[in-house]
């Protein structure tokens, strides 16, 4: 962008001052007069019929407000994609921690005892807990076949390609559940008034998701439901869908009691009852020619969705589309499936299926490299997508991305070749083995396929009486920098100073539906609409004759002030229109899956200590092409934060399940990285621009979650010459594999089919 002054500069975070002084208001910081506290009685078993609910003696139940599914005025469901998840269980429970009954009381200290004093008797039903049990129909727990959704992506003649392959490499990869672990637990306050309807304030990502769910649950028209986002202390996808449930519960209690009700989860409840990243299993079978070029692939990508459908179809879709990574597949068949188990529904988490399928792919690329005796860097280079080629869904890459160049730069920055050679030497007699690993990957920004067209997001800009401009969007700030970057875009577009632009608190009575704050879409899609709406403000002022270009910020403010004084406040709205070249066939799953992809190559150096079997990360190079860096400090913060979360995904964060319930739902025993665990993460950007994004930006929020895990495990394999195909990879897993004498050579012998080797 020529002469940009604000876009590209690291302006102060909009709400930063409030955050560093403790003045920022989160939902638990808010109290309403006469407010009650709410709590949830949950299922203790994975599956069964509710026989009886008993309220034990020793508690004065008259003091409590009690809500059951019978108190729901509308439909007993949390409306999302398919309305299969009840708000409160009615006769049947399908997972541990499923909400059954709600309590409220003015003294929040009395609630835990009261929750314990509600006894629920069940007729237990047999339950299933793994993908395998689900797909083998051990029990049918959902629909006719336990299957929430399947997709088939097909390109070329896969079967013919396998006939001519010089090599076939196959293997299976799995990833575990991961807790988002935002530091602010979930919480909501609801108030109900027979005239004004329902208002909820809460920690959430998507005001209009909550709005939709409450309308259906309460059978209320849109203007009788108001959703306000408070400052939100981290989300990462974890506050995409479950806040609708909590809002619903607080609202039911508020309606019955006639008083405002606050529900704040404690850490254990938040971790055990709410959503996590979907556990996954990916099977790869890849046909290659004698030079290591991919001819064809068969990819089976399966997610454990938990007990209800919720967002699983969408997570599955993104995972399946990303399963081919940044490589050219002349032919490919991707079969994707999300299945039901009796665990709490898994849900949105940064990356949204892509970290799972890309872990598998990037491990598999190293598996192929080892099998064919080609280096990990070279096998990638030979198979990179080039501009003009098509992805697995047939989308032509139109941008001038040069992946071999990106790879070379990352290898240079990390001193990859010298280190790899050096480690091979020094490892021979060392008790601390060193390794270096690569992952190359991509992440599509915005909703998939026609998703943005269906959303039809609307953004408003308001000219205010003091001559400033206010952005009206439902896009929420939860740390990523939404407020800051959208204000930068508006200020830049209007030629104003950053401080001349404000952004409204997301409130469904105030702001239009600019879509959910998910899918790395805010800067790219919503930002572009903010830019268009800004043009509308400018056009109105210039058409009125009050403003003439070129103008100074002071002249703009004067013109705006004069216009508003004459005509009143005015708003400029912009609505998303899908560019013509984005064509998507939802039936065949073919076409332009994303308006833009961000591209990355990460290189990780690790040490594995053969005394403790612990893996430490010594160096981390994160190189990515993201269109345009709108705010260097925030962009870097997104990458480092995502990498840190992905390091946890790879090496620390294990959800321990028993009968479908998380057993380690505390920060004491579910371990995330601390400041003492992380290496310096070296972040580098390339900028190719993007016609579909504000000032050329692409989405970056999820990208850094995709690559670190496979790069780390590739580095561990390089250090130990032992392949690992599952994460999290804990010291005990490394110990077990080394004790069993597993080696990469032996595994390769198993994974390369003999017929194919016979043809070499």
């Amino acid at each position: 962008m020529k002469n940009s002054r604000i876009v590209g500069a690291s302006v102060p975070r909009m709400e930063g001052r409030a955050k560093v002084t403790g003045q920022a208001r989160y939902v638990d910081d808010m109290t309403l007069p006469g407010m009650l506290y709410g709590a949830t009685v949950r299922s203790q078993i994975p599956r069964g019929k509710i026989k009886q609910i008993t309220f034990s003696h020793g508690i004065d139940w008259n003091e409590f407000v009690i809500v059951t599914s019978a108190d729901i005025p509308g439909t007993n469901c949390i409306a999302l994609i398919e309305d299969d998840q009840p708000c409160l269980a009615d006769g049947l429970v399908n997972h541990p921690e499923e909400p059954i009954l709600l309590l409220a009381h003015p003294d929040r200290h009395l609630l835990p005892k009261a929750v314990e004093a509600v006894t629920i008797d069940y007729d237990p039903l047999p339950a299933i807990f793994t993908i395998e049990e689900s797909e083998n129909f051990s029990q049918i727990i959902w629909g006719a076949d336990n299957t929430f959704k399947t997709y088939l992506i097909e390109k070329g003649d896969v079967d013919a390609a396998f006939q001519t392959a010089a090599h076939i490499v196959e293997a299976e990869y799995t990833t575990g559940a991961q807790e988002q672990l935002y530091i602010e637990n979930n919480g909501m306050i609801a108030a109900f008034d027979h005239q004004q309807g329902l208002t909820v304030w809460g920690s959430l990502q998507c005001p209009y998701y909550v709005h939709k769910a409450l309308m259906k649950l309460f059978d209320l028209p849109a203007d009788q439901v108001r959703v306000v986002q408070m400052e939100t202390g981290g989300a990462f996808g974890g506050k995409e869908e479950y806040p609708s449930m909590i809002a619903a519960h607080a609202a039911l209690l508020a309606r019955k009691s006639g008083k405002p009700v606050k529900i704040i989860y404690d850490r254990v409840e938040d971790m055990t009852a709410t959503t996590k990243r979907h556990p996954s299993r990916t099977r790869h079978r890849t046909a290659l020619d004698k030079n290591g070029k991919i001819l064809a692939g068969e990819i089976e990508f399966t997610l454990d969705g938990g007990a209800y459908k919720t967002l699983s179809p969408v997570v599955l879709s993104r995972g399946a589309i990303h399963a081919g990574g940044p490589y050219y597949w002349p032919s490919v068949r991707i079969r994707a499936k999300a299945v039901a188990t009796n665990a709490p529904p898994h849900g949105a988490f940064r990356g949204f299926g892509a970290p799972q399928s890309l872990f598998a792919l990037e491990r598999h690329m190293d598996r192929i490299a080892h099998a064919l005796g080609i280096s990990p860097a070279e096998i990638r280079r030979r198979n990179f997508l080039q501009a003009g080629q098509t992805t697995t869904t047939g989308q032509t890459i139109n941008e001038p991305i040069d992946l071999p160049k990106l790879l070379d730069r990352a290898l240079d920055l990390s001193d990859y070749h010298a280190k790899k050679e050096n480690f091979a030497q020094t490892n021979q007699h060392a008790n601390i083995k060193k390794g270096i690993g690569i992952a190359s990957f991509l992440h599509g920004a915005g909703f998939t396929g026609s998703g943005e067209r269906y959303l039809g997001s609307i953004v408003g800009l308001e000219a205010c009486p003091d001559g400033t401009v206010r952005i009206l969007v439902s896009s929420t700030e939860f740390g990523q920098g939404t407020n800051t970057v959208l204000c930068q875009i508006a200020a830049e577009a209007l030629g104003l100073r950053y401080e001349d632009v404000a952004i409204a608190q997301p409130d469904t009575h105030e702001v239009p539906n600019s879509g959910p704050t998910v899918a790395s879409r805010t800067v790219m899609v919503v930002g572009k609409l903010v830019h268009s709406a800004a043009q509308g403000i400018k056009n109105t002022l210039t058409a009125s004759g009050k403003l003439r270009e070129p103008y100074s910020p002071q002249e703009f403010r004067a013109a705006c002030r004069a216009y508003v004084a004459e005509h009143g406040k005015f708003r400029s709205l912009a609505q998303y229109e899908q560019p013509e070249e984005i064509v998507w066939d939802e039936e065949k799953y073919r076409g332009s899956a994303y308006a833009a992809f961000a591209w990355a190559v990460y290189v990780v150096e690790v040490s594995v200590d053969l005394c403790t079997y612990g893996v430490s990360i010594d160096d981390f190079v994160a190189l990515q092409e993201i269109g345009k860096v709108l705010h260097p400090v925030l962009a870097k913060g997104q990458i480092i934060g995502g990498v840190a979360q992905a390091i946890g995904f790879a090496l620390y964060e294990k959800v321990v399940w028993q009968q479908g319930r998380m057993q380690n739902g505390q920060m004491t025993n579910y371990i995330i990285p601390t400041s003492a665990d992380l290496p310096p993460i070296r972040v580098y950007f390339e900028e190719l621009g993007n016609a579909h994004g504000a000032y050329g930006a692409k989405g970056i929020g999820e990208l850094p979650m995709d690559g670190p895990a496979p790069a780390i495990v590739n580095a561990v394999e390089d250090a130990l010459q032992v392949p690992f195909n599952s994460i999290p990879l804990l010291p005990e897993d490394i110990f077990a594999a080394l004790s069993d004498g597993v080696t990469a050579d032996a595994v390769t012998a198993d994974t390369v089919t003999s017929e194919a080797r016979g043809r070499e």
């Binding site: 930063g16 001052r17 560093v20 403790g22 009395l110 988002q180 935002y182 400041s675």
Partner: protein
Amino acid sequence: MTKSDPACAKSEISFTVNGELQTVSVYPMARLLDVLRHELALTGTKEGCGEGECGSCSILIDGTLVNSCLIPALQANGANIVTIEGLAPDGRLQILQQAFLDCGGTQCGICTPGMILAAYHLLSKKPAPTLEEICEGLSGNLCRCTGYMQIVEAVADAARKGAAT
């Protein structure tokens, strides 16, 4: 803790918070975190885990960094307490707070008050810490957004600018 239990009768305790003497009537085993947030409306101190793991509720008691979710109110009787609200009482940011803003040390902000108090405490003990000492010094405070690097940069930046003096 039920209302009728005589063992849980409220008692009066006094302490200084951010330079002001406060007297409150609370259950002796009430968490200091709750007393600050509910009795004194000092909501800048946050709860993340309630078991002393995350450090979001960090405050200073007589110059010592503590997790206020683990401190019974009675134990604070007579103490001198500093919370995040006490760092910029006149609205002027401390060097450390400004550094958090400049360097990207705050994202969602929920760990920020505790993190800033932990950093403030660190700099009071070690005015010119090495990067390793900063990482070690802040390792009791969890952040899920930043990956810590920009927080560490902020503390180093504040130290360079003489935050501890």
